[in-house]
Structures are given as structure tokens and as C-alpha cells.
Amino acid sequence: MSAATPPMAPPLRPTLRQRAFSERTVRTLKRRRVVSGAMLGVLIAAAVLAVLPLIFIFAHLLKLGIGSLSWDFFTKMPKPVGEAGGGLANAIVGTLILIGLASAFGLPIGVGAGLYLAEQRGTRLANGVRFLSDVLNGLPSIVMGIFAWQFLVRPVGHFSALAGGVVLGAMMIPMVARTTEEMVGIVPVSLREAALALGYTRWRTSLAIVLRTASAGIVTGALVAIARIAGETAPLLFTAFGNQFWSLSLKQPIAALPLQVFSYAISPYDAWHSLAWAGALVLIALIFIISLIARFATRARFATGGGD
């Protein structure tokens, strides 16, 4: 719809008032632009400032850690103060054992709970469990450690690798449950329906079709959870406890990299400090390798997602 165009009016000279108004508008506009530019600058500064600590931490880890890394570090046992050399072989193996125990305990429960959350979505129990698993995820790890001590160590009377593995596994449960739920949730319903229509029972459909389809994503989630618990120290203080000697027994205290880094870091000896840096570097490298594998697993999921 077009209104009739009014006849061309002769151009009016703006009144004084109009001119003052427009100048004020221009001035405020200028000021608003300056404020806007400044605030955008602040945002950029915030982004830079947020990334800086990471760069510093990595720079120091590399600078101070690599110097202390050697073949001995991976193969030798810790030496007493004053003796040169020595490594953290027992702590590295201990951490791997603890990760294995934690996965054996935490993964099945986490995946099972995630399946429940995905399949019973919307029920009162599922909503409650989902909420509580988020709450559990936020509990301080030291509280988990003290619980594990009271529950697993105190009745037995001694620290053990098993208690350490179980507490780390318990910390994995909420993380694994939530990613499993998410990954099972994005499997198309038609896939499940097709399996059921072909006469598959529900449990076989869930495990052989749905869970298998979601498996790459679940593996990623599991690896992320493992990466997170691999560096946990606080829950191990009163469970795995640490061990100066070579031990593979699940019933005995066991050494772990984070524990070793902690006790070396707060020790007064320079040689131990550099071992702490090396230990921290190895720990970070371990976590990174796990995270990288997780990323590749995700990529594989997207790659096959189109093909299937």
C-alpha cells in the first residue's frame, strides 16, 4: 500500500531548537559509541586474561618438567632424600591400576544408570536420579574420600588400592550416567522400533541396537570421566594413601602420581621439587592423551553417523 506522496515541500531551514537537539543527539551518539567500543575492548581483555593462566601453567610445566624427565623417571623407584636420580615408576603404575579399578567399578553402574535415565525419561524417579547425580557430581572430592575411608578403610583397618579405585569409580558414576543418557537419547526412536518390530526383545534391543549405536559417544564420555579422575588427589589421601615401594596388591596402599606430586611439592628439597614438576607433566600428558583419544572417538562417531 502506498500513500499518496505529498507535494514536494520547499526545504525548511532547521530552527535553532532543532539544531541544538540534533547536535546533542550526535554528541550522545558519539559518547555511546565510545562507551561501546571501550566495553568491547574490555571483553577482549577478559578473553586474553582468561587464557593467560593456562599458557603460564603450561609454559612452566614444560620448562621445569622436561628437564627432570628421563628414562629413569619411568623405570626407577623413588630414592631417599640426598640420593640422586630415582623415578616414579611405582606411582605411574599405581595410577594406571587405580584408573582400571575405577573404570571397572564406575563404568557399568554409570552406563546402567544412564540407560535408565534415557529409557524412563520423564518419570519421577528418573528426574530425581538425574538431579541427584548432578548434585553428586558437585560434591567435594575430599568428602568422597572421607566417606570412602569411613566405609571401606576403617572397617578393614588399613588403606588399600581397592578403596582408592572404588572412590574414584564412584566419582565417575554421575559423569558417565549423564553422557550415556545424552548419547542414548540421540539414537533415533525408529531404530529401536525397527528392532522391536523384527521381534527383538526389549533388553536385546537396548543393549545390541541402541547401546551399540551410541557406543562411540559413550566411550568418549567415559574417557572424559577417566581423564577427570586421573588427576584427583584429595579422595586418595585417605584411601590409596600412597606407597614408597613397589606394590601391585589391591589390598595394600598404592602409590599414585597425584599423591606423589603433592608430597614432593610440599617437601623442602629441591630435587623433589623437580620430580614434582616432572610428575605433574607426566600426569597432564596422561590426561591429554586420554582426552585426545576421546576426541578421536567423537570424530569416529560423526564419521560413521552419516554412513550408517
Binding site: 571483553l43 601453567i57 612452566h60 536420579v129 588427589t233 610440599i266
Partner: protein, 331 residues
């Protein structure tokens, strides 16, 4: 009659035109649903077990000292006097410092990523910030001891105190040893930054484009669009992220233990060493000699458990509210 898979077959109609009906679910289905229900129930059971075990173990202390346990600042295992006030104070103060430092930074970086950064820069910067969450607490502590503390001791603390004359506020006074409430707060700020920023980034990205475009079309500058249209829309989600970060800060143990100085006293100055509940537990738990001492530590753990439980529940509720609202609005 039963089928091999455990389902019962019953006659539904007798006589002519008799039919059979299969009742119940196959035994495999029943086992499966029982199993996953059990696994799901493990989560609440675990929480209950934690509350019960720690609560029962801490009960003697909570019963004996009552409310005074939270307000008394005398902590002496030898005489059997236990007051957790310094630890509670330290936990709260170090977390507040962390929030004050981390919140603007986290919101800033999230806004940068959601509204400002060119597309190619978004993923790498977001990844780097998220990476902060992957660094173990003990590595933060190590870095704090050997890098952060010396820097604080020499240029930073004297600068705040003498050059900026902030000692008049009472917060930045006293000798600059290094291990202090301030150091713990700073390391906590770095540690909770990724948690706050990942939640707020998600919320900010969920703000509809139309919201921004409408503000810009009305003549707002880019900052005014962010301040007036984007941030209010995302506010409660960001608050949820901040509270989530608070939950992390309250319970963080290793890095704080290594940097806070571990002295059970309440001091107004942030340069003074302090204590948190988590660091108290980390330091004294394995050396607890008497049952009373152990029970007092359990009581501290219980208080920490309850506080973080409440904080986390509030945060989850807020974030959940936002995700429900935004998905409702965009759908």
C-alpha cells in the same frame, strides 16, 4: 504353561474359538529393567550412604558442641575443644575472592565468544578456557607454590599495600609472606573460571538472534545490545553458572591446602594465612589421634557436605529453569 523365555501362556477363552494369551514380559526384559533400575538407584543410595556415614561419625561432636561448633574459633585436639569457625570463615572468604575475580572474567570471555569473536577464533579460545578444567588440582597447587606465591610476595602484595595504599581498607595489610587467603582465592578463581564460563557461554549462545537484532535495529550500539538485550535474557542461567562455580570453590582441596597457609585463625587481612574446611580435613584427617578429633573432623566434613549439597542444588535448579524456559521459547 510357560514359554522358554519365562512368559506365561494362559487360556484367554475356553471352548470354541479358544485363544491363548501371552502374559508378562520375557525374563530377559525383567532382568534388564531390574538391573538398570538398580544401577540408577545406586546414585541416590550413594548420596544417602555418604550423608549417613559421615553424619553418624560426626554426630558426637555436633551433639556435644551444638551450634557452638560453627561459631567457636578454638580448635585444639589436645584439650578436645573443637570450633570450626576459622575453617568455615576461610572457606567462605576464599570462595568469595574467587567469585569476585572469576565472575567478570568468565562473563567477559563468554560474551567475547558468543557476540564478538570471529567464527574461526571461537572454538580455539573456548577450548583453551575449557582446558583449565582439565588441569588437576594438585598441579594448580604446584604451580601456585613455585610461580604464583613468589610473584605475589614480591611485586603484587607490596604494590597493593604500599603503592595503591589499599592497606587502609584493612583487607591488604600485614607482612607479605605469600601463602594467604588472597593466594588461595586467586588460584580458586582460575580453577572455577572454566565452570562459570562454560555454563554462561551455553546460555548466551541460546539467546535468540532476534533479541540482538531487535536491539541493534532500534539503534543500540553493540555494547548496548549486549547490556540491554542479551545479558538480561541470560541472567538467571549465568547466576546458575556462578553458583555452580561457588560449589566448586567451596570444596576445592589440594590447591587451597598448598597455598592458604593452613593457620586456624580468623584474620581480617587477606595477606594473612587462613584455613578452609577442605584443607583442614586434608591436613589433619590422617593424623587424627583421638576418637574425639576424628569425630570433629567428620563433623566438619558433614558441614561441608551439607553446604555444597545446598549450593549445588540451587545451581542445578537455576540452570534447569533456564534451559526449560529457553527451549520452551524457541520451540
Amino acid at each position: 504353561m510357560t514359554l522358554p523365555d519365562g512368559r506365561a501362556v494362559v487360556a484367554a477363552r475356553e471352548g470354541e474359538g479358544a485363544t491363548l494369551r501371552i502374559h508378562g514380559a520375557p525374563i530377559g526384559d525383567r532382568v534388564y529393567s531390574g538391573a538398570i533400575t538398580f544401577f540408577a538407584l545406586c546414585v541416590p543410595l550413594l548420596l544417602l550412604a555418604i550423608a549417613w556415614e559421615i553424619g553418624v561419625a560426626g554426630w558426637p561432636t555436633l551433639h556435644k558442641f551444638g551450634f557452638g561448633f560453627l561459631t567457636s574459633s578454638e580448635w585444639d585436639p589436645v584439650t578436645g575443644k573443637f570450633g570450626a569457625a576459622p575453617a568455615i570463615y576461610g572457606t567462605i572468604v576464599s570462595s568469595i575472592i574467587a567469585l569476585v575475580l572469576a565472575t567478570p572474567l568468565a562473563i567477559g570471555v563468554s560474551l567475547f565468544l558468543s557476540d564478538l569473536a570471529p567464527r574461526w577464533l571461537r572454538q580455539p579460545v573456548g577450548f583453551l578456557v575449557d582446558l583449565l578444567a582439565a588441569i588437576p588440582s594438585v598441579v594448580y597447587g604446584l604451580w601456585g607454590i613455585f610461580v604464583l606465591l613468589p610473584v605475589l610476595r614480591d611485586p603484587v602484595m607490596p604494590f597493593l599495600r604500599d603503592t595503591l595504599h589499599l592497606d587502609k581498607t584493612g583487607l591488604f595489610t600485614g607482612p607479605a609472606y605469600g601463602p594467604s587467603m588472597l593466594a588461595a582465592g586467586i588460584i580458586l578463581a582460575i580453577m572455577i573460571l572454566p565452570y562459570i564460563s562454560s555454563v554462561s557461554r551455553e546460555v548466551l549462545l541460546a539467546v535468540p538472534r532476534s533479541q540482538r537484532e531487535a536491539a541493534l535495529a532500534l539503534g543500540a550500539t553493540r555494547w548496548e545490545a549486549i547490556w540491554g538485550a542479551v545479558l538480561p535474557y541470560a541472567r538467571s542461567g549465568i547466576v546458575g553458572g556462578v553458583i555452580l562455580g561457588l560449589g566448586r570453590a567451596l570444596g576445592e582441596t589440594m590447591a587451597v591446602t598448598m597455598l592458604i597457609g593452613n593457620r586456624p585463625e580468623i584474620a581480617a587481612s587477606l595477606f594473612a594465612p587462613g584455613y578452609t574446611m577442605a584443607s583442614l580435613l586434608a591436613n589433619e584427617f590422617s593424623e587424627a589421634s583421638s576418637d574425639a578429633h576424628l569425630s570433629a573432623l567428620m563433623a566438619v566434613a558433614f558441614v561441608l557436605f551439607v553446604i555444597t549439597l545446598i549450593v549445588n542444588a540451587i545451581a542445578r535448579w537455576l540452570v534447569w529453569q533456564v534451559s526449560r524456559n529457553t527451549s520452551g521459547r524457541t520451540a
